[in-house]
Amino acid sequence: MTMTIPAGMPQYDDMPTFDVDRVRADFPILGREVGGQPLIYLDSANTSQKPQQVIEAMAVHYALHNANVARSVHQLGTEATLAYEGAREKVARFINAPSADEIVFTKNATEAINLVAHSWGSSLKPGDEIVISEMEHHSNIVPWQLLCERTGATLKWFGLTETGRLDESDVDTLINERTKLVSITHTSNVLGTVNATARITDRVREVGALLMLDCSQTIPHKAFDVVDYDADFIVFTGHKMLGPTGIGVLWGRASLLEKMPPFLGGGSMIETVRMTGSTWAAPPARFEAGTPPIAQAVGLGAAIDYLNDIGMDAIAWHEKTLTSYALDALSTVDGVRIYGPKVPVGRGATLSFSVEGVHPHDVGQVLDSLGIQVRVGHHCARPIMDRYSVPALTRASFYLYNTTDEIDALVRGLDQVKRMFS
């Protein structure tokens, strides 16, 4: 008998893999103890840990190639500039951006969103509409609230379904001729939901609006292609993808960036400065006022090299395995309720849950005493808390260095939590 596999159907044993133990050995912090217990780090959605390769790349940069960029003809300045611009090219290739000039380095994803809100958004008028969703991180809410205050534009929201997915039922009315921009998260930092964007993109193109995707929780975890997704802007942040703090990325279509006025003013973003007025450099320089995050770009470049070496598909599959395992394991714990998709499809490796009768702070504290680091609170996404009528949640989030053993430890920890507070 022959089995016919439908064309294009992925086969599990075709899936790329990697040696988790070897990966773990690259992360010095994973050898640490917390309160006498081996560290179990389940908070990568908050910030990821850093491999030795990234830490060293920055140390070597400071020790041997440090200089300011784009301002000097000297050798050190040239080395620093090549390193900085080289990192820009790595980022561009990583997300398949048509040109490195479409990559703007910011201090974090939050600044990247604010940049678009201030620069692109400065021409909005009363009557114009921006559409976001109830599953946004505060960084993709507050800049738009502030923009609407400044310009008189109106903020509209996609709702959420009970299962933690974007409610697209009103996409055609929500996105309409008044809509100028739709800015939604690609992966929720609380629910783990990975949003399907096709219907939204279609509607955005239909009405002539723009689409921005907050990819802060996507880029670290799976291959992403800005051309494929047909977005107009995406943002993400270095520290969640094995890179350093202090650097974020805005990608924008060249044709849009070229028309946008500057946001921050200062050194490096000018063409010429006169007392009577100034003119601006072309993007990306136009949006990078002052000394940029040079060493941080070097670190981010090293992080991308590291991710590429392991392979984004292998990382995505590793996380899918962990997520399936964790969804099963947590469903065996009495009193635990998961918020967000309960199936390992269309979701990332971030699981938020409540423990009946125990406040998340107390859950987190007891787990911490066992070496298990989870995040508790509103996760910078209060509207989700309001949507599901919870004051706060506990969140476990996984990355390439996590193991099923660590999920077992989490489950055991939750039993201890319940014993303590029952």
Binding site: H361, D362, Q365, G377, P391, M420, F421
Partner: protein, 145 residues
């Protein structure tokens, strides 16, 4: 850090059986405080007359530490003279921000001494202080009136 330094029996007891919870009338001032990093909230009312805290009533949600702390605050200070209340407030704040180096005085703080261990958990100090900050604010509002 030992977990039981944080979760003293007294604290868990106040958490499971909070004293004085619920918003009551009459009141001279009402305040609403939030811990922005974690979302814990408390609404707190004081009824203050003749320099006496006739009643302190509260409502809110949060972790065991913040809830137990509000319960202890009620137990200790509802009915107290304003001067004594401020003294207890100062002592509790000192205890919480003392990084575990301050010896608490049970005569002034009552069950509040159980929070001595919280001072060693910097991330939880704000939880313990939430209702106490609200009280200070509410008293200030009455005085401003």
């Amino acid at each position: 850090m030992q977990l039981d330094q944080l979760y003293q029996e007294i604290i868990l007891d106040h958490y499971k059986h909070p004293k004085g919870r619920g918003l009551r009338e009459p009141f001279s001032a009402e305040v609403h405080h939030v811990n922005p990093t974690c979302g814990d909230e408390v609404t707190l009312r004081v009824q203050l007359a003749d320099d006496k805290l006739i009643d302190i009533s509260y409502e809110g949600h949060g972790c065991s530490i913040s809830q137990a702390s509000a319960s202890v605050l009620y137990e200790l200070l509802a009915g107290a003279e304003l001067g004594d209340a401020l003294k207890a407030h100062a002592a509790f704040t000192e205890l919480m921000t003392g990084k575990g180096q301050v010896e608490p005085d049970e005569e002034i703080l009552g069950d509040g001494v159980a929070f001595a261990g919280v001072a060693k958990f910097p991330a939880r100090v704000k939880c313990a202080l939430l209702s106490w900050m609200a009280l200070k604010d509410a008293i200030g509002q009455v005085e401003d009136q």
